[in-house]
């Protein structure tokens, strides 16, 4: 019975997702025992809110990585789009403009990445490394390095609650469902997996290589823009240094969720679990009162553990 339960659990999720889910359960079980505050709904929802920005940005990143690309610029896009939204809102006095402006800024950054990759044929690692620096620089130039205050709808996205549930968490879940359907049920989703698995075969099968690549980068930029305005809305302030280093958390969540860095393999539920695991670890360190520096070390170890276990298992199955 237990065995059957285990095997249905594994088939429903896939092996890698199952191992991340198991890690989440282990950490959660330990925290329940170690901290009385952990299982309280207020804390759990807080974890969900913390997971939401990484989770939302990771949705776009996952598609990029499945298509055999990588987007290192998401952290800087978060900063630039938050700043752009806040400045336009301040200058025009219309606070409602901050969200659409941030989204458009993110989209344009994604378009720029896609253009560098598909038209100038710059390797995505290099192209987005360039954008990482350019976007951050523009954010600093626009603000002179000083944070811009923000209110209105952005605040609601970042800090608001509906029936006590954080708005950003609801948004993440809705987007995850939409992206899961996109990835598994639509032709566009198939195209993304196909160009990641074998780009030459994809061209012969009539798949639009350029268009699909452009699509995933634009989507990744757009979601980073959304992530930026949520993050700034939560703090009621757009700091030009916002989102610095976020690309690592996002890529870590994507890889933890079982996405192959060499493309062609990955799943949206896995990526969501990866984002939740990252947020859970952050929470654990706060609750247990351990130094934030250890947290940085541990994040690295968790990634190595999850990915290492996977490749050991894969090696074993390849040699026999």
């Amino acid at each position: 019975m237990l065995l059957r339960l285990r095997s249905t659990f594994v088939t429903a999720l896939g092996l890698r997702e199952a191992s991340v889910a198991a890690m989440i359960l282990i950490v959660a079980a330990y925290l329940t025992y170690a901290s009385a505050y952990f299982p309280e709904p207020r804390n759990l929802l807080n974890i969900g809110r913390q997971a939401s920005v990484v989770g939302i940005v990771a949705l776009g990143q996952a598609l990029v990585i499945i298509a055999r690309g990588i987007d290192l610029s998401v952290g800087s896009i978060i900063g630039l789009s938050a700043v752009a939204g806040a400045i336009v809102a301040r200058e025009t006095g219309v606070q409602g403009l901050s969200v659409p402006v941030a989204l458009v800024a993110g989209l344009l950054c994604g378009l720029f990445n896609g253009w560098l990759y598909t038209r100038l044929r710059i390797n995505p690692f290099i192209a987005t490394l360039g954008t990482l620096s350019i976007a951050r620089g523009i954010a600093l130039l626009l603000t002179g390095g000083i944070p811009v205050t923000l209110s209105g709808f952005a605040n609601f996205l970042g800090a608001g609650r509906i029936v006590n549930i954080p708005v950003s968490l609801i948004l993440m879940v809705m987007l995850a469902v939409i992206f899961h359907i996109l990835a598994t049920r639509t032709v566009r989703g198939r195209d993304i997996f196909a160009i990641g698995d074998n780009p030459k075969a994809a061209v012969l099968a009539g798949i639009d290589l350029r268009g699909t690549r452009l699509f995933v980068f634009v989507l990744s930029g757009l979601l980073a823009g959304l992530g930026g305005i949520i993050l700034a809305g939560n703090l009621a302030s757009a700091d030009p240094n916002l989102g610095m280093g976020y690309e690592l958390d996002v890529i870590a969540a994507v890889i933890l969720g079982g996405t192959s860095l060499s493309g062609g393999r990955g799943s949206i539920p896995g990526v969501m679990l990866g984002a939740i695991l990252m947020a859970l670890l952050n929470n654990a360190f706060v609750l247990l009162g351990i130094s934030a520096y250890w947290q940085v070390v541990t994040k690295g170890l968790v990634i190595l553990l999850a990915v290492g276990l996977d490749s050991i298992r894969r090696d074993a199955s390849e040699t026999d």
Binding site: T186, V187, R190, F193, A205, I207
Partner: protein, 494 residues
């Protein structure tokens, strides 16, 4: 004198027995041809002999004493070299560096480049490949030349037993001749050679002894004088004939499905004109580098047609690949691992990749039409697999090829282009593929087959166009497909 004796070798993977007690004795200076369909256990057997795999049961003796190889390096130490089909070269290093990698000549701790180049040139000359420049970057060489570099690397280590898996598959006729000269020379010098091949005529002309594996059992051991192509096919498949061409008189429908008019790509191909009728199977023959693949690429829209015209059913062709696909041109490319399959995905997924756009509703995949296509082509093409969710990478070469043909057919194309459709495919699957090609043509589909095998052209094609250095030099009817005539035309611009 025997170098190596293997007796009663057994090997199974996850309960699936691949070798049922195979025994073989190898003498010094002997050239052994190892034949068998894909999946017969040839590679597994050679992996056991070379130490890459350890047998479940059985004994290997070298020079009369028992050995147990723990890994491939033990095999190397015993003087056994196995050159696989997948090359293991470093594309950005030079030819000389690749040949002597691991034993680079040194002087005062630095690489001695003069000695390196001299030594590499000597080895290339030895295997009859002195036309390859030792300073060239390996990645820029033709596949056949890379194969020769790989062989040179193995030879540089002076093996006692040299095992080669399909070494001639990408060589030109001239290179094959030079290479055979080399094999005979090292055999005369005492090296034992095991030669795995699907080309029966090569095996018959080169080898001292032919060994046939079928389903993991050694079924025949023959002297080439007492074997014929036909008898070997029976040994390998247990069936009599591969495929016989049958003339169909209804072919000439006089409706041109494909017209190529004075087409050039601005590079190798120049001024090519021919017509293919609806329901006809048209062959494209030529030596390696003649431009067969390039011509197919141009017809299917992957390569620019700089001058001239390509017309499909009387309409001017579109300018890119997707346009050609819409106009009804499908292609099964050469080199299925690199250009064809999606290895991390299932058979069903691979099959439907060509047709999603046609059956999708508002961008959403229709699962029922996927299943329908799967069931139809699984039976029609005889794809052998456990279930549709199996990863395509785990199928045999012949079945992968059938999946790719299925993917092309799902679109119901008017014109089907096949590039070396039976390259690296076993004899049984080859016959299946020929049968599929003829059946599709009989249903009115127009098929163009590019091939370097004369037998293949004669088995399936109604007419053949012969390319030589990017020019179309002749078009022959089925009656005119004499081997000498075809080769003479093919060499005419060389």
């Amino acid at each position: 004198m025997s170098i190596l004796t293997a007796s009663g070798i057994r090997k199974s993977f996850r309960g699936n027995t691949v070798l049922h007690g195979v025994s073989l004795t190898i003498d010094a200076g002997e050239i052994i041809g190892l034949l068998g369909e894909n999946g017969a256990g040839k590679s597994t057997f050679m992996n056991v002999l070379s130490g890459t795999l350890s047998p479940d049961a059985g004994v290997i003796q070298i020079d009369g004493s028992n050995v147990q190889f723990a890994s491939a390096s033990d095999g190397l130490a015993a003087g056994i070299r196995f050159i696989r089909q997948e090359l293991s070269l470093m594309p950005s290093l030079s030819v000389a560096e690749n040949i002597l990698l691991g034993s680079l000549p040194k002087r005062r701790g630095f690489v001695d480049y003069t000695a390196l180049r001299r030594r590499a040139a000597e080895i290339l000359a030895e295997i009859g490949a002195s036309h390859i420049d030792v300073d060239a970057e390996v990645g820029g060489l033709r596949l056949g030349e890379q194969q020769l570099v790989e062989i040179a690397r193995a030879v540089s280590q002076r093996p006692r037993i040299l095992i080669m898996d399909e070494p001639t598959s990408s060589l030109t006729a001239h290179e094959v001749e030079q290479f055979f000269g080399f094999v005979r020379r090292i055999a005369a010098a005492g090296t034992a050679v095991i030669f795995i091949t699907h080309r029966l005529s090569e095996a018959l002309s080169l080898c001292d002894r032919l060994v046939v594996l079928r389903n993991g059992t050694l079924v025949a051991e023959r002297h080439p004088d007492e074997a014929t192509r036909e008898s070997l096919i029976v040994d390998m498949t247990g069936r009599a004939s591969l495929f016989n061409y049958e003339r169909r008189d209804d072919v000439r429908s006089q409706e041109a499905a494909l017209e190529v008019i004075g087409a050039s790509d601005g590079e190798g191909l120049s001024d090519i004109s021919f017509q293919v009728q609806k329901g006809e199977v048209f062959g494209l023959f030529g030596l390696v580098g003649a431009g067969r693949t390039e011509l197919l690429e141009m017809i299917c829209g992957l390569r620019r047609c700089a001058r001239g015209q390509i017309r499909v059913s009387g309409a001017d062709a579109q300018k890119d690949r997707r346009g050609h696909l819409r106009a009804g041109v499908s292609i099964v490319p050469e080199g299925r691992k690199i250009q064809g399959i999606f290895p991390q995905h299932s058979v069903r997924w691979n099959l439907s990749a060509g047709t999603l756009r046609r059956t999708a509703k508002a961008g959403f995949i229709s699962p029922s039409s996927e299943v329908e296509a799967m069931t139809k082509y699984r039976t029609e093409l005889g794809i052998r697999m456990q279930d549709p969710e199996q990863l395509v990478g785990t199928l045999s070469g012949g079945n992968q090829q059938k999946v790719l043909i299925g993917r092309a057919l799902v679109n119901d194309p008017q014109i089907l282009l096949l590039d070396e459709p039976t390259h690296g495919v076993d004899v049984g699957a080859k016959a299946d593929i020929y049968r599929i090609v003829r059946a599709e043509a009989a249903h009115g589909r127009t098929i163009v087959v590019a091939s370097s095998e004369i037998d293949e052209i004669r088995a399936v094609c109604d007419r053949v166009g012969i390319l030589s250095k990017g020019r179309l030099v002749a078009v022959l009817n089925h009656d005119g497909m004499e081997e000498t005539a075809m080769l003479t035309h093919a060499f005419s611009h060389h």
